[in-house]
Symmetry: none
Subunit: 411 residues, 2 copies
């Protein structure tokens, strides 16, 4: 007799950001970490390796998450601007033109500090820009990010991303004029708008009390912005329409929250968010995710700490984080009707301190999954599992099939 | 602590041309050959199988080498002509129209021998063609190859590859008129040029002293050329621009040298080239390659002997060649900062005597590579390795990632 619990109907996708590694002396953090709960999932599931974008393609967290969610990054990734803007919390819409922005210092017409002395108290400056900088028929949305960074979105008809940056890249030069990179009136108009914004911002910010005070203290004022990475926010088919299921995202990193929202996932904040570098946040997130599975068919959880330790080149901290995060997986294997997927979005090898294209280990666990011989969640042995080598774009189709929500192709 | 030797920064790609096979009685030359040095690389590296062009696609050495170098053969392989011309040593340029050519015998207007009695002393005939055959505004480059074969290149503006062959395919017929296969003036003009060349060559060669002498000896004169395989030399982005690294090619086969040059690799001749069918040439080539790694970031070595034994259907000679060539790999595993890749461009199975699409074994060895359980370089067991099944086009992205020269896609 087939019990209801023999058939899965929900998907829990947990991304251990950057957890995968490249061996040094034959070891990786995932290979040496004590992680009984993750290993239990691997033992009871099917395992493999995955190229999130493609073999040898070194992904960002943006392109890899798009791929894992089933959105071809070669189609939907339209540049840094849109994803940065989504990442800082702007509710971008398809067709918006989005940019990355630096606060900078301009003195006597020349950029004297491209980061305005790494200014960080930019809340009021951003507010001043939003209140005072105006362009006819175009909505301007400006939002600060961490440190000297910010994002800018232009919303309106007749705009184009085919324009150049204003960042001179070197100190001592003037802010570059923005130019159209093709002959369309849209590109010409957008370049004019960007130039107008550059000029207006300088007027608004130079006399702003925060900058007056910074100058008094001999600090470089944040009186200008450098605009770059123009991209059109892609028209992404919402998750619920694409797959016919309701999804949510649980993450702390703005970029992942932004991508989740762009794909139509509901963002579920975790009440008492602990610092990302500790395993505690993993426990809170996964607890929240299990609750959310009462309401949603699909929950994406992004756990960030391993990536950060990788970027810092800290093998021991990466290992320790994974051991702490492992506690979050305790008891998950008792979920009755859920396909649990654990993977990484990319490797962030300790010796490289940046993302690499080394394939990530992936496990799938739950009713109906064909168990294999792999008994550890481990980037050095995952290749022996029953999933073989798959791609990020394969995850959602396989998961949907396991919950019997895949559309039949043919009769 | 991360040592410099934990990070690779060079790539040595060794292609054992045609080394892979299809089993007869459960055995292949690679499976039975004693090759301790290759096996040591396999043991210390990661292994897999590879479809150089695609599963079931039976590749030429040209298409497979293009793919392994990361140039999509479906985009860049424009026919036999351009690659033959490059292979015989013509420095072809993007846009050239290139052809394969046979010397043939024409008597009383009919082709009486399509190979001119397999004529081989064609140096002077080629010289006579280059000196005497003229077409306005078009440079004609003619070069002999082995035996009765040669290559022809037309260089100039307003030419097209969309024309028919002149080879009647059967003896007793006249040389075929070359026709345009579309309505463009370029195709029409190029067909006229080819017809003019056919006619001029007959006039120049029929009275040439070599042919006068051949007729005296009752040998078929090489007094005509049959022109076929028209193709436009592709505009191939140079290796250094595509990847940001400097590359070199070490090979004896004209075709491989030609492809290497077309891709912007520098051709490094090996001083005392031994005959290709012995393992000695492998030793000289790999020694040269190791020296070249002081100067170049990437070195492609093509070792030809196994392919020839395969084409001859000689299992024992193929095995023996591989055993001899194995000596060339001695000590390579001590290279500190080099990703060593050993593979084949295709299988040349002894029972088939021609190329087949059976996947080839591939190993990658060096700092940062995830070692797997495979301990032999062997076409029958390579599938068990950590690379699983990749494609030729994956090789360069994976290798570039391992030397940390891959561009990040996203943030």
């Amino acid at each position: 007799m087939i019990l209801m619990s023999d058939v899965a109907n929900k998907i829990l996708l947990i991304v251990l950001d950057g957890a995968s590694d490249r061996p040094v002396g034959g070891k990786t953090p995932l290979a040496v970490a004590s992680k009984p709960n993750l290993d239990r999932l691997a033992y009871g599931g099917i395992n493999g390796i995955m190229d999130t974008v493609g073999p040898g393609i070194r992904p960002g967290s943006d392109t890899s998450h798009l791929a894992i969610l089933g959105y071809d990054p070669y189609k939907y990734y339209t540049g840094r601007g849109p994803f940065e803007a989504a990442g800082v919390g702007i509710d971008v819409k398809g067709g918006d033109i989005a940019f990355r922005v630096n606060f900078a210092t301009v003195e006597n017409g020349a950029v004297t500090d491209r980061r305005a002395g790494r200014i960080s108290d930019t809340d009021e400056l951003a507010k001043a820009i939003n209140e005072n900088v105006k362009v006819p028929d175009v909505e301007i949305i400006f939002k600060r990010s961490t440190g000297h960074r910010a994002a800018l979105v232009l919303r309106g008809k007749g705009l184009s991303p085919d324009i150049t940056d204003t960042d001179p890249k070197k100190e001592g030069l003037t802010i570059k004029e923005c130019h159209a990179t093709n002959d369309t009136p849209e590109a010409k108009r957008t370049a004019d708008i960007v130039n107008s914004i550059s000029k207006q911002v300088l007027e608004v910010l130079d006399k702003h009390p925060i900058n007056v005070e910074r100058k008094r203290q001999s600090l470089p004022p944040g009186n200008a912005i450098l605009i770059r990475g123009a991209g059109e926010v892609p028209h992404i088919p919402p998750f619920s329409e694409k797959y016919g299921i309701r999804g949510a995202v649980i993450a702390a990193a703005g970029l992942i929250i932004g991508i989740g929202k762009m794909c139509g996932l509901e963002y579920l904040p975790v009440g008492s968010m602990e610092i990302e570098a500790s395993g505690t946040s993993a426990i809170a997130k996964i607890k929240k995710a299990v609750e959310a599975l009462d309401t949603y068919d699909f929950v994406l959880v992004n756990i960030k700490g391993a990536d950060e330790a990788g970027h810092d080149g800290n093998f021991d901290r990466k290992t320790k984080f994974l051991e702490e995060a492992d506690n979050a997986f305790k008891g998950l294997q008792n979920l009755k009707d859920v396909i649990i997927i654990v993977t990484a979005d990319h490797s962030t090898p300790v010796p490289i301190k940046d993302h690499s294209a080394d394939p990530v280990p992936i496990l799938m666990h739950g009713p109906g999954v064909r168990m294999d011989d792999v008994a550890h969640y481990n980037d050095l042995i995952a290749y022996k599992g029953g999933l073989h080598r798959i791609r990020g774009m394969d995850v959602m189709p396989i998961a949907l099939d396991l919950i019997n929500k895949a559309k039949k192709f043919g009769a």
